[in-house]
């Protein structure tokens, strides 16, 4: 809707990282930060110089930074990224999404090999709610009235948010924005029944810990979203891409859930978690 | 009559401002406390209306111990006039004067009516009644202060350097005015100043204080002037600087009274 964007305006100037230094960014989402930390430590183990610029908010903030070269490497999620560039994409499966993504990214960026590890949006309800209303799939929500969905503010306008629910499943929901990336506030609201459905990333350990029921998505409202590195082409030397591809090949969804749990429950730092994972996999 | 019997005041920080003071202040006369800065004048004055609490000794008004009275009531029955008038800046002149009677329960209309009469007494134009204190000159403010002090028709009027901040000419006027008012009303006035000329001018009794509220000399002005009790008194009243040691010189055919340095102070009437 807007003519010019202040964020784009910055993209032409300044900030290109010093030659030979990889600037790794991360979302302000702890799980994403863990993956970024894994990338960073893996590259450092292979003799690269790394600068960490973690915690850079949402795509709208960091994608221009990638384009301008302020940041050169970023752990991304294939489905969400594709939807960012192409709101009307028809791709659904992991492979289709990945293929579409390769052509959707701007010219000076590219995606490396995608990982098998997936972390995608998913709708979850409490066990009690599922049992009481006989709900197991998103489509079943149509039977229940007065359902409120909770999730980050941007969900309100995402294709898989309330508008998508209506158009794909004919489900009408209220919406409460809770901006903690499916953190404790969202969870508490769900458990308190302030909201009935929560958008929680599939690799979030709280789903298992709280016995939540993840609603199935027969009509593929959500795209597959696998971990995929987004890199500025200037930085994509073979020394870098080989290392990152190797890491991604070893990363699994179970690893993600486990590591996320270590971060929230055991309160370990992302650096420690990343180091343990790398040590465990013995990649280098 | 106000009586101090071995009254001592020690402030919490240890300063003994008044040390074993014995003093009788006769009724219906003006007693002036005079002394240099820090000699305890204000402290003595404020012990009379319990704005300062004595440390030991007895203070009686007409034979009644003031510590048997409620301090707020006591204050309402004693007029108080201070330097810079202490008027309430957010109340009009007339309301300032009417304050104490109203605290005492007089109806507003009556108190204001009485206040206007008091403005006459202190020589202020009634037109000024509706002004705020900041709209008056310093001298006018002091007059309002005096009117306020008199408003509850108290027997006792305490005045703490009431004319200290005004210009000498206005000051002289106010002094004359006070003399007149006192002639009419005959209050028990306790007046504090550090100006010995003012003390001699206004006081029926002058009490000359040294540090610690010690009385250096007390008596009528003529007594003190003619028989200074000590070197301190002589210094204070200016005898040693030759200001009080006068002689007569003839200038332009008139007898000019000059001090020891030859500075003229007045003209002798024949």
């Amino acid at each position: 809707s807007s003519g010019s964007s202040p964020l784009d305006a910055g993209s032409t100037s300044t900030g290109s990282a010093a030659a030979g230094t990889i600037v790794i960014g991360s979302q302000s989402y702890y799980s994403n930060e863990i993956i970024a930390e894994i990338y960073a430590q893996a590259l450092e183990a292979n003799g690269q110089t790394v600068t960490r610029k973690f915690n850079i908010g949402q795509r709208d903030a960091y994608l221009p930074a990638l384009a301008s070269g302020e940041v050169t490497l970023f752990p991304e999620y294939s489905g969400n990224l594709l939807q960012f560039y192409d709101k009307s994409t028809a791709a659904v499966s992991a492979d289709d999404v990945y293929a579409a993504l390769k052509t959707a990214v701007p010219a000076n960026l590219e995606v490396l090999e995608q990982s098998a590890a997936a972390d995608q949006d998913s709708y979850n309800v409490t066990k009690a709610f599922a049992d009481a209303n006989g709900v197991t799939s998103i489509a079943d929500l149509a039977k229940v009235s007065n359902v409120t969905l909770g999730g980050n503010a941007e969900l309100a306008t995402r294709p898989y948010g309330p508008p998508g629910l209506l158009s794909t499943y004919n489900v009408t929901v209220g919406f409460t924005p809770i901006d903690d990336s499916a953190g404790p506030l969202t969870l508490k609201a769900l458990l308190d029944n302030t909201i009935q459905v929560a958008n929680i990333y599939s690799a979030d350990p709280s789903i298992g810990e709280n016995n939540l029921v993840t609603l199935t998505d027969p009509k593929n409202l959500f795209l597959a979203s696998n971990v995929v590195p987004l890199i500025n082409k200037d930085a994509a030397t073979p020394e870098v891409t080989d290392v990152i591809n190797k890491v991604d090949a070893a990363l699994t969804t179970e690893d993600l859930v486990k590591m996320n749990g270590e971060s929230t429950t055991d309160q370990k730092s992302s650096a420690d978690i990343a180091k343990e994972w790398l040590d465990g996999k013995k990649l280098f | 009559m106000i009586e101090f019997r071995t009254v001592t005041k020690q402030f919490p920080d240890g300063t003994v401002a008044v040390d074993a003071l014995d003093l009788v202040i006769p009724a219906r006369q003006t007693t002036v406390l005079v002394g240099s800065s820090g000699s305890g004048k204000t402290t003595i004055l404020r012990m009379i209306n319990r704005m300062v609490d004595k440390t030991s000794g007895d203070i009686e008004i007409d034979g009644e111990d003031i510590y048997s009275l409620n301090p707020v009531k006591l204050r309402r029955s004693i007029g108080y006039v201070m330097q810079n008038s202490g008027l309430l800046p957010h109340r009009k002149v007339v309301d300032n004067v009417a304050t104490v009677p109203m605290l005492n329960g007089v109806k507003k209309a009556d108190a204001r009516e009485a206040a206007l009469t008091l403005l006459d007494t202190v020589g202020l134009d009634r037109q000024l009644a509706e002004r705020y204190p900041s709209q008056l000159s310093g001298g006018q403010q002091q007059r309002v202060g005096v009117a306020r002090g008199l408003a509850a028709d108290p027997n006792i009027l305490l005045m703490d350097e009431p004319f200290g901040a005004v210009d000498p000419i206005v000051r002289a006027e106010l002094q004359q005015e006070l003399v007149r008012i006192q002639r009419e009303l005959g209050k028990t006035i306790v007046f504090v100043t550090h100006d010995i000329d003012e003390a001699f001018l206004l006081g029926d009794q002058v009490v000359l204080l040294e540090k610690g509220g010690r009385i250096a000399q007390a008596g009528t002005p003529a007594d003190i002037l003619s028989k200074p009790a000590s070197d301190f008194v002589a210094t204070f009243i200016g005898a040693d600087r030759g200001r009080r040691a006068l002689r007569v010189e003839v200038v332009n055919g008139r007898s000019v009274v000059v001090d020891e340095d030859g500075r003229p102070t007045g003209v002798l009437q024949s």
Binding site: P6, K53, G57, P184, T264 | -
Partner: protein
């Protein structure tokens, strides 16, 4: 508590980031405010306009300001300069009034005495008015310091590293100790800055301690600064 012990390194490095973001706005804000405040005090007609404009700057919410600045300055989005400039704007907004008040509070008698002694205008300003405005300036600077230190956190929302990271990250991970450690560290920085400013004041303004009347004006004016149009 365990979290704090295990993450002292992180807290420390974020504290350094926080300090690095807070110091330049405080100093720049002070330097920029001096000429503006001087004009506001010197030319009565300009006073209202200048103070209103600076007051207006302060009502701009910080987050959008940080986001809009790259477009205005041509800086990168993640450039800490955005936060520094944004906070400098707030610092100026607060400080201009303090400078104007501080200069106005200089005893006009002393100012006249200086002229009478033969100080030229420039000399008089730097050797008499400015140092005498010192105590009130310092009081204003202390307000600016506290306000800046507490505002830096907002920069974390747009990805500029500071103690604010601990708030957002602690929120996602539900680690209360992390959020609290961020608050405490912010508080500590504010207190340390304040102590430093007070100490600098003691050194540069030895006379102020001896001057009770100056202390009172200083207090009055400082409180006026706090209860005036100042927001944080």
């Amino acid at each position: 508590m365990n979290w704090v012990v295990n993450n002292l390194g992180l807290i420390w490095s974020l504290t350094l980031d926080h300090i690095a973001l807070a110091v330049p706005p405080i100093i720049l804000g002070f330097l920029i405010s001096i000429p503006i405040g001087w004009v506001a005090n010197r030319y009565h007609a300009s006073r209202g306009v200048l103070l209103t404009i600076s007051g207006l700057l302060y009502t701009v919410p910080s987050l959008p300001l940080f986001i809009a600045l790259p477009a205005i300055l041509g800086t990168g989005i993640l450039d800490p300069v955005n936060v520094v400039v944004g906070l400098t704007i707030y610092a100026v907004a607060l400080m201009v009034r303090s400078v104007a008040d501080a200069l106005a509070a200089v005893d006009s008698g002393v100012r006249q005495a200086a002229t009478a002694m033969g100080y030229s205008g420039w000399q008089g300003f730097w050797q008499v008015e400015f140092p005498l405005a010192g105590p009130v300036l310092l009081a204003g600077l202390r307000v600016v310091s506290v306000s800046t230190v507490s505002l830096v956190s907002i920069g974390s929302v747009i990805g500029v590293s500071s103690l604010g990271y601990l708030f957002l990250n602690g929120l996602q991970r539900n680690i209360v100790a992390e959020v609290i450690s961020g608050i405490v560290a912010t508080l500590v920085i504010a207190i340390v800055f304040d102590l430093i400013l007070v100490a600098v004041g003691r050194i540069l303004l030895p006379w102020a301690k001896a001057d009770p009347s100056a202390r009172q004006t200083r207090r009055r004016t400082a409180e006026r600064a706090l209860t005036g149009t100042v927001t944080s």
